[in-house]
Symmetry: C2
Subunit: 190 residues, 2 copies
């Protein structure tokens, strides 16, 4: 998606260690007008898939998921990183390895909100090693819900997550696909 | 706001320890159509205040803040709970005591996204003891930005946060104001 690519080229910064800093518009400060354009693209891609629930993971996926949910006319469910006092009853849980933070954490969703009759679209800001997305897939499978696919804003195609998850049959619509990046240059897939 | 009060009465559940469970529509599963109605109320209240930035705190404030930002035509900034590798440069930081989790945590925002010229509206899902909202106020003050006020979905008026922050001059627009609640009954302020 040209609009997102241009924004990454204009406002993104590549840092040492393969970090793409897009916190001016995507995952710290959030440009909701841009989000609405991304949402339209995901809706165009999955318009005929009867999506009735969007699943994301806290924290930076939530904004994108909510704007996307307006396009689909459905609610959002976000996987929580810790079990708080405010969730009771039974939950689905899965482990996610965070390469950014160098840790593994557990995420949960309440069983009552993820149903076998749901048709679920996953939404997240980044796809790199794929750990977060894989965790969301696992939650959907545990619930016996239908996994329609995943809408991703930025995919780092030089990291293995996208290829691994596509080879397992997951349909992934990434709106900016980065082929390579250094502190001096950033190129997108054709 | 009658719509939100009715939803709380219909789908909310009061748990031991003063917990109001509204995770079916507000802070786990999120009803974005309801959020749009809340956003319209906040916009009506703050329409003449030249809001140009919405500040919230991860995670459950983010969805509300993004939908509200569409009404105001401005970006969202969310305070992050930990310093990740993806934020560099200097940050404003403050301490927040979480009564829900029984801990104190640090939240940060990048200085480059909170400016002295900003006119900031705070958005959050709950106001009870006021620790999170007070932390956000502190961040705005550190930046030298103008603090327009706060839009809250659910205020627990029997806890001290709202009174304390209003006495300090903060304008707070809470859309459902709970006067008292037990596991058997829940009443709103007139």
């Amino acid at each position: 998606m040209r609009l997102l690519e241009q924004r990454i080229l204009r406002d993104g910064k590549v840092r040492a260690g393969g970090i793409l800093k897009v916190d001016g518009f995507l995952n710290h400060q959030m440009d909701v007008e841009l989000f609405a354009q991304l949402a339209k693209q995901w809706h165009a891609a999955f318009a005929n898939d009867d999506v009735n629930k969007i699943l994301t993971i806290e924290a930076s996926g939530i904004g994108l998921a909510c704007i996307a949910a307006q396009e689909f006319g459905c609610p959002v469910l976000f996987a929580k990183k810790t079990k708080t006092k405010n969730i009771d009853g039974s939950v689905y849980k899965t482990q996610v390895a965070s390469y950014t933070h160098g840790t593994t954490y557990e995420v949960i969703v309440a069983k009552e909100y993820l149903l076998p009759t749901d048709r679920v679209l996953l939404i997240d800001d980044f796809l790199a090693n794929g750990a977060a997305l894989e965790g969301l897939c696992d939650l959907v499978h545990q619930a016996g819900a239908a996994l329609v696919g995943a809408g991703i804003a930025v995919e780092k195609c030089f990291q293995p997550g996208g290829e691994r998850l596509r080879s397992k049959g997951l349909r992934i619509e990434s709106l900016a696909r980065i082929k390579s990046m250094t502190e001096d240059s950033l190129t997108f897939m054709d």
